[in-house]
């Protein structure tokens, strides 16, 4: 069995490398440094691993310092210490952009996939099928006094409400607080927090009165054991998260695009450019890999991103945060047609 598998694997590798040789005759060396969001890390790890079959001489390191920590390393004062690629679960902030221009760092901003947040409750919870954004805000805002389901909405049963969520170092925490509470990093603190989505999932699984929020991909992995709550953004039409509603952005506002930021100076090195273009050539395969499990962007958005990379189109398209709420297709494709 094992022998057969070995042969199969080596066949695939041989085929893969001959394919690679056809596309990219140059055997590249050097190294690519990536750091940033733990949410984007699975995409980066998968890209690095698959890229190895094509360019085995290139060293790729993936650090997980969080989006903000990643930008700190991307924008180091000392050019020699800067990472080549910063993986981010939110667009670069005005402050970070200012620092980049002060230090003369030019970058290309590229979307890589969609990530959805899921608000989850216990599988046995049969009353909470949907929540409005306002209700979520009342539960999660700082100093919130809601400790029982009956205080969430009249008609919900008298049952203690216990909360689970990501720890404060997580990009998911930043994102949820910003769109739900209205202020990034403003949250009640009396909940069970963990950087590990697995801990949140297990907590909600074992507690009928629990509610939590975590990445959609984690929810999708453990889908049998949790219920996702449909979110009503305020128009009376609650939408549950799934691959379709996330990519057409009707599941609002808890779905977001993920980005990588590539230093233009680094792009002059063939191995950096090869890695980024490798991702875009294999985006669907990487993003939908069962171990990664995010939602792929639309074909034409990937095509637009590839063109931005080729043209070295500088700067961020999300300087105003309203752009984040619009479908990416509108932001990327329409802009090109205008």
């Amino acid at each position: 069995m094992n022998g057969l598998r070995r042969i199969a694997i080596s066949l695939i590798v041989v085929m893969g490398s001959s394919l690679a040789a056809a596309q990219q005759p140059a055997r590249l060396t050097g190294k690519v440094s990536i750091d940033g969001s733990s949410t984007v890390a699975p995409i980066m790890k998968a890209t690095a691993e698959l890229f190895r079959a094509e360019q085995p001489q290139v060293k790729v390191s993936v650090g997980i310092s969080g989006t903000t920590g990643g930008f700190k390393k991307f924008l180091e004062a000392d050019a020699a210490l800067r990472t080549d690629i910063s993986a981010a679960s939110r667009p670069i902030t005005a402050e970070e952009t200012r620092m980049a221009s002060e230090r003369g760092i030019r970058f290309v901003e590229l979307p890589v996939a969609y990530d959805g947040l899921a608000v989850v409750v216990n599988k046995k919870n049969d009353f909470c099928k949907s929540l409005t954004l306002a209700e979520l805000k009342r539960i999660w805002e700082p100093e919130s006094k809601i400790r029982n389901w009956k205080d969430v909405r009249p008609g919900f049963p008298d049952m203690p409400l216990r909360l689970y969520g990501p720890g404060t170092a997580s990009g998911t925490f930043d994102y949820f607080t910003e769109v739900v509470v209205g202020k990034a990093r403003a949250s009640r603190s009396d909940y069970t927090g963990s950087e590990d989505d697995n801990v949140i999932a297990t907590g909600v699984e074992g507690d009928i009165g629990a509610m939590g929020y975590l990445g959609y991909s984690y929810f999708a992995l453990g889908a049998a054991k949790l219920n996702a709550v449909a979110i009503d953004p305020g128009d009376g039409k609650p939408v549950a998260p799934d691959r379709t509603t996330i990519s057409d952005r009707t599941y609002r506002p808890l779905a977001r695009p993920l980005f990588v930021y590539v230093n233009v100076e680094s792009l002059k090195r063939a191995e950096v450019e090869a890695l980024v273009t490798f991702f875009y050539r294999n985006a669907k395969k990487i993003v939908e890999h069962p171990k990664v499990n995010y939602v792929v962007l639309e074909e034409d958005v990937y095509a637009a991103a590839t063109r931005r990379l080729a043209d070295r189109t500088l700067g961020s398209l999300f300087a105003d945060h309203a752009a984040l709420q619009a479908p990416l297709r509108q932001t990327y494709v329409k802009r090109e047609n205008d």
Partner: protein, 310 residues
């Protein structure tokens, strides 16, 4: 005069009972410690047994096929880190201990230095990480390399090496020093030929214990900027010494490294249960390395002492 002072009551039975109770309590506490250790080992072995193969040691990590993944990169990283740390920390630590124990007079300054060293040994390791980031990564521009990490671990363990070595030196009887000096040896000859050899087992024990501490550290390396996941580039040109040298230079100086504790941390954070099993296997390797280093320390000590007394 009438009420005679109470005679001494031996109450032997009661005192013996109390003694037995204390004995039992001490035994119980010891057993709790041992039990927890065994529980930990049993749990780790149960989880990690599955992937404890030769391939685990020789393969690169794999995010997409955990079953094919290994700890080669992290293991090499850990070994190099500890080597750098030991090469720097041992001469500095033993040298400082020799100075403080054999040369230093009891001045204010020396007392202050000694107090500081004792305090440094208790500083949380993450603080050393920040120091390393500022000095080695940023100021000396060693980048986020094994060299930066190893030097940071070196300053982390230097206080421990100094304290252990001082204790070993202090345990050498003064009569040996006096005898050497009386026969006309200089201070240096006395230290070189008599004090250091006599203190060697104690010094080695201290060194190995502190190196064992260094190999298990993750926090300072994370601050330095160790990466969680690395796909290595070119391999080693095993045919020539030059190839090996180039590989070593690259491994020490190039940015981007990882180590066993960080690999374990990264795997244990994954949701997929296969990664948890892998983390268990990596923990066994780390524990095995640690235990064999400690065994080495015990062995050296026993061998040295056995050879000397008889």
């Amino acid at each position: 005069m009438s009420a005679a002072p109470a005679l001494f009551q031996p109450r032997l039975a009661q005192r013996r009972l109390l003694g037995a109770c204390f004995h039992g309590l001490c035994l119980l506490i010891t057993l709790v410690g041992v039990f927890v250790l065994f529980l930990l080992l049993a749990l780790v072995f149960r989880i990690g047994w599955k992937y404890l193969t030769w391939a685990l040691l020789t393969n690169e990590p794999s995010f997409l096929n955990p079953a094919e993944g290994g700890i080669r990169i992290a293991l090499i990283g850990s070994v190099l880190l500890v080597l750098v740390a030991a090469v720097v920390a041992v001469p500095v630590g033993v040298g400082a201990a020799v100075y403080l124990e054999e040369y230093a007079r009891k001045t204010r300054l020396n007392q202050l230095i000694q107090l500081n060293i004792a305090n440094l040994a208790g500083v949380p390791s993450i603080v050393y990480g920040m120091l390393g980031l500022a000095i080695f990564v940023r100021w000396l521009r060693f980048d986020r390399s094994v060299l930066s990490g190893g030097l940071t671990l070196a300053i982390l363990i230097v206080p421990v090496v100094i304290i252990a070595s001082r204790e070993a030196l202090a345990a050498v009887p003064n009569s040996i020093r006096h005898a050497a000096l009386a026969l006309g040896a200089t201070r240096w000859q006395m230290i070189r030929h008599h004090v250091l050899p006599a203190a060697l087992p104690g010094i080695l024990t201290g060194v190995i214990l502190s190196v064992s501490r260094a190999i298990g550290e993750a926090a300072p390396l994370i601050v330095i900027g160790a990466a969680a996941f690395i796909m290595p580039g070119g391999g080693v040109d095993t045919a020539s010494l030059f190839g090996w040298a180039r590989w070593l230079r690259e491994a020490l100086l190039a940015a981007g490294f990882t180590a066993l504790p960080i690999q374990i941390f990264d795997w244990s954070m994954e949701t997929d249960p296969e990664f948890q099993d892998l983390a268990g296997s990596a923990i066994i390797v780390l524990l095995g390395t640690l235990l064999s280093m400690n065994a080495l320390a015990v062995g050296i000590r026993a061998w040295q002492q056995g050879g000397k007394t008889r």
